[in-house]
């Protein structure tokens, strides 16, 4: 089984690199995008469900976290998105969760907290995927029985 692929999006290089470091240590394959545009390109170029998780800064010029959330979910149906928010944007983060993000992490954060949220998100994603695969198998099995 391939390792978990995570995309970290933040226009602050240090913040992005730190997140990459923290998550790489967990054994995930972590890629970094330093702008919304770059993240959009990466997500568009990747094969369907090529990414398992996106951690994105909410507030970025031009292409912001909300846009990345929409794009990621359109391109990769099983993907989970976690918002990273700064001071004073918690209400926007909640709006993002309502729009389908898994959760949000408020800066400044505890690195173990981030790991925990990521782990939970991936667990949910795995369950979702498993559920879907089982449903597909079931449908296939039922479909095979129908002609008889």
């Amino acid at each position: 089984m391939r390792s978990v692929k995570v995309l970290v999006v933040d226009d602050e290089k240090i913040a992005a690199r730190n997140l990459q470091y923290i998550l790489s240590k967990e054994g995930y394959t972590v890629e970094v995008a330093l702008s919304g545009h770059e993240a959009a390109d990466i997500l568009t170029a990747a094969p369907e469900n090529g990414y398992d998780l996106v951690l994105t800064d909410l507030r970025m010029p031009e292409v912001d976290g909300m846009k990345i959330l929409a794009l990621a979910r359109a391109r990769h149906p099983d993907i989970e998105v976690i918002m990273v928010t700064g001071f004073g944007t918690v209400s926007s983060a909640l709006a993002a969760v309502q729009a389908g993000a898994y959760h949000y992490v408020a800066k400044p954060y505890n690195i173990n907290e981030v790991r925990l949220v990521v782990r939970d998100a991936l667990e949910k994603r795995a369950l979702k995927r498993e559920n879907r695969q089982l449903k597909e198998k079931l449908a296939l099995a039922q479909g095979a029985q129908v002609p008889t």
Partner: protein, 493 residues
């Protein structure tokens, strides 16, 4: 010249009424004089009529005597002659008045008296002569004098009639003249009063208009023109209102500054959060690594610590620029460059930049010029925040352009957005203090007024051109060697 009525509008109205009252009174007096004259003339007419009647009676008895030659008719004639003389005596006053009013020098009471004596003598002679020889000798003379008597009496009566008619005509004419005189006086006084009350009021209206337009006016100069108590009172009230207004404006400008600082604090807090978070994360990573292993690579340790110090410096820089902005200071010019002005200003408002708005900074020649950096930053922040608000969640570009015009020795800074533009009627008032298009509580309307004030203090100016197609462009132009202007005549910022 100091007239008793020049002190106040109330005095002018009072004196206006006095003048009208005097005219009306004089009109009544004149009419009364004329009427008393008419009354006297009526008496004269009465006397003249009585005289004429008596003269006619005298002639009737004269004719009777000549016809019947009897003594009673002669005696009656003589008695009537005596009556006539008495009448002339007793009504001498009326007849003398009559003589005065007669225009042409016609026969009067004196003539009548003379002819009466002549006639009486002739009658007496004729009577005694006739008694002696039954012969008439003086009949022609008597008839002639009798005729004269009648003519004089008739003339006097006619004269009285004429005189009365004349007086009545005079009364009519004087009443008409009086009416005209009062009418024109009333109109004239009304006009004078209206203009004396309205002229200063118009002046006040002009002044209030000027105040409304934001023009600083010198109340002493205006008060000097005012000689009317009421106008002075209004001006004094206006002046004290203006002073209070200026006082309040100062307070509002101060609170606007505080509000601007508040807005910035919110933005800066967001900005501050990023380096703090980064430093915190780096510290946590390093701590975790060192807890897990005794041999953390030295290079990794250095990298993390550098990140921590770098981000801490960044946070300190943000705090320092906020403090510089908030500090209350007079305009003090220092040598600065456009790059030292524009980039840190962008950093101050970074937290307020809407997600869909892109900021471009274009700097031409970047040499030193003299200006108050904090004030220019404040001016720029106001323009930038305005530009951001213009987009209302739509995508757009804000271009901050700085250039030095060495030939004109001017610094030109432009803030341009490709937003929806400013409507013409808003543009006219955009620099007016307290003018705002934002909802109540969302803007005091002082941002652009403060920006213009800052430009003025630098000896510079600000202009705006805007269209719905190309967006809005504010251009600030200030001399490269602007010296600090005193605060006189302007709000303390």
């Amino acid at each position: 010249m100091k007239w008793p009525w020049s002190g106040s509008i109330a005095l002018r109205i009072q004196w206006g009424y006095y003048v009208l009252l005097a005219i009306i009174t004089s009109g009544f007096v004149v009419t009364a004089i004329f009427l008393s004259r008419v009354e006297a003339q009526v008496h004269s007419l009465e006397a003249a009529s009585a005289l004429l009647d008596t003269v006619l009676e005298i002639r009737r008895y004269e004719k009777n005597w000549i016809l019947y030659k009897d003594q009673p008719n002669f005696a009656k004639n003589q008695q009537l002659l005596a009556d006539c003389a008495r009448l002339l005596e007793s009504r001498a006053h009326e007849f003398s008045l009559l003589a005065k009013t007669q225009l042409s020098a016609g026969p009067d009471a004196k003539d009548l008296r003379h002819v009466l004596t002549l006639y009486g003598d002739l009658m007496a002679k004729e009577f005694s002569g006739y008694q002696q020889d039954q012969q008439h000798r003086l009949l022609d003379q008597i008839r002639e004098q009798g005729k004269r008597l009648v003519e004089i009496a008739e003339g006097m009566s006619r004269a009285v009639h004429h005189s009365i008619a004349k007086t009545l005509r005079l009364v009519k004419a004087s009443a008409f003249a009086f009416l005209l005189w009062s009418f024109f006086t009333a109109v004239f006084l009304g006009k004078q009063l209206a203009s004396s009350a309205v002229k200063p009021l118009k002046k006040i209206v002009t002044c209030t208009g000027k105040i409304a337009a934001g023009e600083a006016l010198l109340p002493e100069r205006l008060a000097g023109d005012m000689d009317l108590v009421e106008v002075r009172a209004v001006f004094e009230a206006l002046q004290s209102m203006l002073e209070q207004l200026q006082q309040r404006e100062k307070l509002i400008v101060k609170s606007e500054k505080l509000a601007a600082v508040g807005t910035l604090v919110a933005g800066v807090a967001h900005e501050l959060n990023n380096p703090l978070s980064n430093a915190g994360t780096s510290a946590q990573i390093l701590l975790e690594e060192m807890q897990e292993s005794d041999e953390v690579p030295r290079q990794f340790q250095i990298e993390m610590l550098e990140q921590i110090t770098g981000e801490t410096d960044r946070a300190r820089g943000i705090v320092r620029s906020l403090l510089e902005f908030a500090r209350e200071k007079e305009v003090t010019v220092t040598e600065i460059r456009l790059s030292e002005l524009l980039y840190p200003t962008i950093d101050l408002v970074r937290g307020q930049i809407p997600a869909l708005v892109e900021i471009k900074v274009l700097i031409g020649r970047d040499e030193v010029f003299l200006a108050d950096r904090q004030r220019l930053q404040q001016a720029l922040i106001n323009l930038l925040l305005n530009a951001f608000q213009a987009f209302e969640n739509r995508p757009g570009v804000v271009t901050l352009r700085g250039e030095l015009d060495l030939t004109r020795q001017k610094v030109v800074i432009e803030v341009e957005d490709n937003g929806p533009g400013i409507p013409e009627e808003v543009k006219k008032r955009i620099f007016d203090p307290f003018f705002t298009t934002k909802d109540v509580g969302h803007g005091s309307g002082l941002g652009l007024a403060i920006t213009r004030e800052i430009m003025h203090k630098h000896g510079g100016e600000i202009s705006v051109d805007s269209s719905p197609v190309t967006g809005t462009r504010f251009v600030m132009t200030l001399p490269m060697t602007s010296s600090a202007k005193s605060n006189a005549g302007g709000a303390v910022l």
